[in-house]
Symmetry: C2
Subunit: 446 residues, 2 copies
């Protein structure tokens, strides 16, 4: 090749380049990302999946006619759990899904952990609507069904497709176990023998009127918030437990690392799961109060932290579910996801001293999952109470005798007996919230 | 853009084009395939996966030194089932696997049905080597292990990686059921609590000395055979049962369709599964004799049919396994795969009148499976005995009263009572083979 710029033809330095990439201390991926982002800004590359969140709400100007139509359609009563999934779908967390899964999508998810129409999208767990045989027979010849909860019509399900709810197979493939002692599976077995998929037209935003709706920001609202505060990197911490200073350490450390990598304003999305959880988990209202107290205690910086509720139900599906937790957050524009030990795990229903999942599988599967390449996975480092330095610190196996692991059970024990945890374990206000919750529990749930 | 050929510049018809594509009656895919094949022939595109089969045999010139080394290594006794999988790996059916799966590959297969290093390769079922805790402890610090069966060293496993054989989770994810009444799962539960992955150096071709080894052609040998007879399209029929004239009809019909689509010499790979099968399946030697008789009866054309044994064990894993059956055959260069109703299915262990899998799922999953796009899936059409025309014919629901479905049970009944099946159900020689097998069975297995 002749006249190749920089080889046998001169390289003329541009006078005002569209993009300057500083490569020092930055990975190839980061530099590539910069090029990609510029190309997207100029409309040369299409906006990636993460950029467009597919909301399923009926546009304002069609609302009254669609509502009128909905009143006349046959009705299907849906459960609280179904309504939580409807919220997830309506707000675009499961983009590009346009409704409850049809059989083809269900099979793609069960066998390949992905949706494969119009691209490859990570989707590791089924989002489905169970119906009874009776309801199926009543509704099967309709083109539209109104979904009703507690007297309110929330949505129309269009062009419904009924298919068998193969519960044993679903539990096996989704959870890697089929066991009625698993609390989410219990709900699956109690639900209808059919699934109905179809496109959704959602009539109103799903609210719970529990004083926490203002925390339930949609992906688009979160994006706006991040833009508003000038975030140039968003890292997510998913949790369903109280925050101790070991968690906080990890979040602080991630923030520090991102600043060192050149981000000007990395922002933490502290994103507790707010849908259904099993009975012995700490309830959402207590957790939200505790998280608020952690910020008031000054342990996390309110200027670089957004606290919001992730409205998904919990499934305790381990390596399958951690992908869902990560993928859903991609729709907020997040680029970094902190993954813990045994994410979305629980004890084995038949032998409670054993983890149901291999605690390393979640992070391993997350790192290799198709469709999650936009996200950088930040592995959780184990923190424990360092007696020598009287604070939570990353566990150092060389002086392991200095470290105490403080379990949920021992926290409950301390709270019940009116004792405080060791200094530096948790912010004082945050501890008070938790202690009074534990004290309020009947003795049987201790 | 100026001077665009065919727009504002003249289109000059080439005098001797490298490729002429006739588009009449051909799909876009077929035309594209023609372009792709030409580009590969000219070395412009790399040879696709299907073109290179990765055999794991030690090259002839290194054989004596590797054998010497193997003698000195610690030994691991492997079962007949393990040896069947070793054969599969050694001959390249599971290309690009270089040995028994390591944990990362195992997780990719379990969660995504694919291997994802250096490209995307369909691999729906794990190919793993179980070991006991005792063997693991004995072998874990070795860099090489000699795999021994029945006193013969077959291979060296290099750089072994031990990981937990999570049997409950494996059964659930692989089979969609966890049940000791499932005969392959029974073998999983009886096997070791650990898996060992690693790269294989295979010292010798695996033979079974049962008079059928000449049917056990490797993918490379099959390719050579297809070239030799001038096949320009290969279509595969996987089976583990005797062939009746309904099967034959389907194969004849496929051949006819391919000729109509412009192929000069479509060849049938009649490829019965030859590894482990459950006790009540017809044994391999009887099936091979029966298949031979079908050709002698003139029901299939010996000039356009290759009969060979697929050395894989059977797993009865339904939609997961049918992908394996298709993918493995891609390594022979096949482009067409006939898929039946309920492929790789069996009755539900707890309710034998029900299919374990939804009989439509196999074909559905096969059609959407990543990494199988080279294969065209030909759906099985149901054939039954047409009493009016006294032959097997595609079932016509408009005159369903004319059709008889002749089950395995009724075939056994006819054979035991010395009766012949209806004319045209099966070739006479082929029926004799089968009838004498059924007669030889003890009454309890009737």
């Amino acid at each position: 090749m002749r006249s190749f710029t920089g080889i046998d033809a001169e390289y003329e330095k541009p006078e005002s380049p569209d993009l300057v990439i500083k490569t020092v201390d930055r990975s190839v991926d980061e530099c590539v990302q910069q090029v990609v982002e510029m190309l997207m800004e100029h409309g040369i590359l299409p906006r990636s999946f993460s950029e467009s969140v597919l909301e399923l709400f009926v546009p304002e100007n069609q609302l009254s006619s669609v509502k009128e139509e909905a009143e006349l359609l046959p009705k299907l009563q849906i459960s609280t759990l179904d309504l939580q999934w409807l919220q997830i779908l309506s707000e675009g967390w499961a983009t590009p899904l346009t409704g409850f899964m049809r059989e083809k999508q269900y099979l793609q998810v069960m066998h390949f952990g992905c949706l494969m129409e119009g691209g490859l999208f990570n989707q590791s767990i089924p989002i489905v609507l169970p119906v009874t045989t009776e309801d199926k027979e009543r509704l099967k010849s309709n083109n539209g069904i109104a979904l009703v909860h507690d007297g309110t019509i929330y949505a129309i399900l269009r062009d419904p497709e009924f298919y068998e709810h193969r519960k044993e197979e679903r539990c096996c493939r989704q959870f890697g176990i089929c066991n009625l002692g698993h609390p989410y599976q219990k709900m699956i077995w109690d639900s209808g023998d059919w699934l109905v998929g179809g496109d959704l037209q959602v009539l109103k935003r799903i609210c719970w009127n529990d004083g926490m709706d203002h925390y339930r920001l949609t992906p688009n609202e979160l994006k706006a918030k991040f833009r508003e505060i000038g975030a140039d990197a968003i890292f997510v911490f998913q949790l369903r437990n109280p925050i101790h200073n070991g968690h906080a350490l990890l979040m602080q450390d991630t923030q520090k690392q991102l600043v060192e990598r050149g981000y000007r304003k990395p922002v933490l999305l502290l994103h507790p799961l707010g849908g259904w959880t099993k009975e012995d988990d700490v309830p959402l209202d207590v957790r939200m109060e505790q998280h608020k107290a952690v910020l008031e205690d000054g342990i996390l910086d309110p200027n670089t932290t957004i606290v919001a509720i992730f409205p998904s139900p919990m499934m305790y599906a381990g390596p399958k579910e951690v992908q869902w937790h990560a993928k859903a957050r991609m729709s907020t524009g997040a680029h970094f996801y902190i993954v813990g030990r045994d994410p979305a795990g629980m004890p084995h229903p038949d032998s409670p001293k054993q983890d149901l999942y291999d605690p390393t599988h979640g992070a391993k599967v997350l790192t290799m999952a198709p469709g999650l390449t936009q996200l950088e996975i930040i592995p959780f480092r184990v923190a424990a109470y360092d007696r020598k330095n009287q604070c939570m610190a990353f566990f150092n196996p060389k002086r392991k005798e200095d470290f105490d692991f403080i379990s949920g059970t021992s926290m409950r024990g301390l709270a019940r007996s009116g004792q405080d945890p060791p200094d530096g374990f948790m912010g004082p206000k945050a501890w008070q919230v938790l202690a009074s919750y534990y004290k309020s529990l009947p003795t049987s749930s201790q």
